[in-house]
Amino acid sequence: MSSASGSAPDQALAIRASRGDVEAFRQLVEEHSGLVYRVSLRILGINDAQDASQEVWVRVWRNIKNFRGDSAFSTWLYRITVNTCLSVRRKESRRSEKEYSGDEMPFLPEPPGGDADPEAAALSAERRVEIQAALGHVRAEHRAALVLRHMEGLSYAEIARVLDVPDGTAKGWVSRGRAAMLIALVEEDHGRAGGTAG
């Protein structure tokens, strides 16, 4: 997990890149391509992550002359990445968000070996697919906030800067995303159990 703390070499490279230094830009791409791809993957899924990542870097190069170093380069990069992912999502038809009827609480079944089982802590391929599918059912803005908080480890202040919203909104989006994610994950789990049983 990472956070959007600034690093001096990044700032220096970004300033050089903003003056048209392609070599500095190349170093930034090599250093941060993992971050961009990882966030795109979590927000958009495997099918769109590569195209979105490429679009992010095109936008970064196009806009880097506007980077003044007021915030950490990684915060700026997170912002472009999330905005690109959200604009990709907006172009598509809205995905169905899992409805919560409020009749019963969503529960995830206990892993076979219990929570203390180290094998249960490791994620199976099947579980990864479920998590990604469940993320797809969370509203895009809430999903972005959830990913930044619980997968990227950003603070609420950092999330608010990345999403360009007040701190309270960032908190609300994470909270709603967390609840929607649990509901979707339980549905995925039930679907799998039903599929296995059938």
Partner: protein
């Protein structure tokens, strides 16, 4: 009065915040008490905790961008920088020719090269 669905949703979010360790003071104690008293809330808190562990585990796994992404970004930047440079060069060359032409026609008094 809040509808039952909304109340449930609020509780759902509050227990989520508790499981994420984001509640403090009196609110945290209230939720703790509810979790202690109600097995369904306890199971909900456990489910959240499980989900958060999964998200964190997945978030901690290293992800490498495909080589195509890195290569494409760098190539685009080099091409764009080259075109920008070429545009500047051609622009400067064009301006120089224009200045020379204007000087040649005698439309400007000062000498070519910007001197007086």
């Amino acid at each position: 009065m809040m509808p039952v669905g909304e109340q449930r949703w609020e509780m759902l979010e509050r227990i989520g915040a508790y499981a994420a360790g984001e509640l403090e003071g009196e609110v945290a104690r209230e939720v703790e008490q509810l979790i202690f008293e109600r097995p369904d809330y306890r199971r909900l808190a456990e489910s959240y905790a499980r989900m958060l562990v999964m998200l964190t585990t997945l978030g901690n796994e290293p992800v490498e961008a495909p080589e195509a992404v890195v290569g494409y970004a760098i190539r685009r930047a080099y091409v764009s920088a080259f075109l920008r440079g070429a545009e500047d060069f051609i622009g400067a060359l064009g301006r120089s020719y224009l200045n020379a032409f204007v000087y040649y026609l005698g439309l400007r008094r000062e000498s070519y090269g910007g001197g007086t």
